[in-house]
């Protein structure tokens, strides 16, 4: 009996304390509520747990910093920007459920998209139904802007045609007419399969003399890739195109280095900030690296320099490509809201189509015909020495910036794919 009484007492105390806390937080309007005339919710449903969480967390931090920066400048339409976030577990059904809840319960005015293209595909139908402008800043499958096109979605990331074309263009410049034996290594899902196919197609289009000697398709996030890796090494490729990202690329690099693989092959991989940081000195110097928006690729860009400083101050880390692209997505949306002075989905879509917005990535143009941003892809080589600023290896100073004019589908080609 005593135990029950004690338990009831403890519960009562807990309730009282909880009510006191709630009371304290609702008793008087917060500073932000006094300053703004209400608030605008924006949503980000992305992968915040599991093996690709690094990308989602980076994106979320970019969105949060963008909202904070907007609020510091007085918000939008006099209202405070609030970020509503949810974890999609890299699952389309969870992503769709998150977005439905954000639209119906949180009344979000814009959605900033997920990591996975499969999740994005599930969400786009919903946001189109409710006319919520949606910005894809990480998921980059070409089908999202072609076969699965909806009028309310915009892609501010180089897509699965632009990215491999950029790498192929760089390679073509380097190798000339020499014949190359190429191996590919890719996560076994739509992004990886499409990227590899488009890379090989681009090599063919560019007239690069090549033969494919081995192709391996480990599962996304698989920790044990020894069988696929040993098969790739056995095929003895002169050049290896690896479209893995984040932790998977770190995993591959660590294991392949043990075989002395990088002495025998020219590695091409998505060595963006996160894997370079994780690999430290183990990052393969001289390997060809590509990335969608590395901050070190934006030279003489004051807006990017200032952003990097703000991000470093806010999170005590340098911004990943995922954070940069997410931030620029919010800038694109915010500029349109300011222009039309409304949150109406249809008005915003019209304002964004064909618009050019000054962003931390420079002027960012959204093509009217398919809502694809005209953004470059960056290709370079991994440096030998640690970068003095960030404390680990980055790229050598010479960075090839692939022009979107050369890598994008034409409007006619894009429309033909719908």
């Amino acid at each position: 009996m005593h135990r029950h009484k004690n338990g009831a007492l403890a519960l009562s105390a807990l309730v009282v304390v909880a009510l006191a806390i709630v009371g304290a937080s609702t008793a008087s309007p917060s500073q932000s509520e006094r300053q703004f005339k209400g608030f605008i919710n924006i949503g980000i449903s992305t992968t915040l747990s599991g093996s690709i969480a690094t990308l989602g967390q980076g994106g979320l931090q970019g969105i949060q910093l963008a909202a904070a920066d907007l609020n510091r400048q007085g918000g939008l339409l006099g209202k405070e920007i609030k970020v509503v976030s949810a974890d999609d577990n890299a699952t389309p059904a969870t992503g769709a459920a998150n977005v439905r809840s954000m639209i119906l319960d949180k009344k979000i005015s814009a959605l900033f998209g997920p990591v996975s293209s499969a999740v994005a595909a599930a969400e786009l139908q919903l946001t189109a139904q409710y006319k919520v402008p949606t910005f894809l800043h990480t998921s980059n499958d070409i089908t999202l802007m072609t076969q699965r096109w909806t009028p309310y979605a915009f892609q501010v990331v180089p897509n699965t045609i632009m990215e491999p074309r950029a790498v192929a263009e760089y390679l073509a410049k380097k190798v000339g007419n020499r014949k190359l034996n190429i191996g590919t290594f890719s996560p076994d899902y739509v992004f990886g399969r499409n990227s590899v196919a488009n890379f090989l197609l681009a090599l063919k289009d560019l007239g690069v003399n090549h033969a494919v000697v081995g192709q391996q398709w480990p599962a996304l996030g698989a920790p044990n890739i020894a069988p696929q890796l040993s098969a790739l090494i056995s095929s003895d490729p002169e050049v290896t195109f690896n479209i893995q990202f984040g932790g998977d690329l770190v995993n591959f690099t660590n294991q392949a280095a043990g075989y002395g693989f990088f002495k025998n092959t020219r590695m091409i991989g998505m060595y963006s900030l996160d894997p370079l940081k994780a690999l430290g000195d183990a990052a393969p110097s001289g390997a060809i690296a590509f990335s969608r928006a590395p901050f070190w690729g934006y030279k003489k860009n004051a807006a990017m320099t200032a952003f990097v400083a703000r991000y470093k101050k806010a999170y005590n880390a340098y911004p990943s490509e995922w954070a940069i692209m997410a931030y620029s997505a919010v800038q694109t949306w915010a500029a349109a809201v300011k222009k039309v002075k409304s949150l109406n989905g249809d008005k915003l879509v019209k304002a964004i189509e064909g618009s050019t917005t000054p962003t931390i990535r420079g002027p960012l143009k959204i093509r009217a015909c398919d809502h694809q941003a005209e953004v470059p892809e960056f290709v370079g080589t991994i440096a030998k020495q640690r970068d003095k600023t960030v404390g680990h290896k980055l790229w050598n100073p010479e960075v090839f910036i692939a022009s979107p004019a050369k890598t994008m589908l034409t409007c006619a080609e894009s429309l033909a794919r719908r």
Binding site: D188, G214, N254
Partner: protein
Amino acid sequence: MDTVVIEVSGTLSAASSLFLASAGLTLIFGAMRVINLAHGSFYMFGAFLTTSLVGFATGARFWWAVPVAALAVALIGAGVELGVIRHIYGKEHLTQLLATYALFLIFADLALRIWGAESRAVPVPKSFFGSIEIAGEQIPKYNLVIVGTAIAVGVGLWLLLKLTTLGWRIRAAVDDPESLEASGVNLQLLFTVVFALGALLAGLGGAVISPQIAVTPGIDGSIIVGAFIVTVVGGLGSILGAAVAALLIGASETAGTLAAPDWASTFPYIAMIAILAVRPWGLFGQPER
């Protein structure tokens, strides 16, 4: 022919990784009849703790980080047994699955909060950095550590179960727990020790593998599927079965990458279905009585 060495090395490395991930799982099921879905969490904690203990510097710290991480995970395992698992012995498998799945989710969230979402890498210790040449092919020196640890764990467990009092009691607990308890053995303490030992093996696996992988949130879920396949194919509770199954699964995937790379990931599942169709209780398991 000259690539055979690389293929064999890849197979052994894959099999050893699988065995290290599954040995504790099968030990716990064998002794306690508990299906522990949180086993991958112990593996993940072993890897993350190693990253924290080693930091980003190479050197001898790795060699003490591994046992410290494994022991720390054993303590976590003991705590989990005392706090949760003890209360679900003898319950339906579904109850056990739900309880341990809840632990899996809680631990995943905890790891995310402690270590964040970033990928972490543990540098290969200097003495095993680089490669050795076998038959003209370069093989990672660190593969020797992984294969050696797997062999040591397998032999160690076999000796423990066959030759020690603790092993005798564990085997007796499987066959006749009531008689064992009647003979004065503290069954609850025994189960705590076994569960902690299983957790230690998972932690050891995560710690030893950590220089070869990217340590990220999600490795708990990534390894649990492979570990379960090995455990089920080998026969629930059989250490020898887990070793043989790990080798078979590793070999089938390697064969897949050579014969049909597009379908390589499917090969282990095909092997699993084929084996379970013939022996539903696994290679070295026994039918449920």
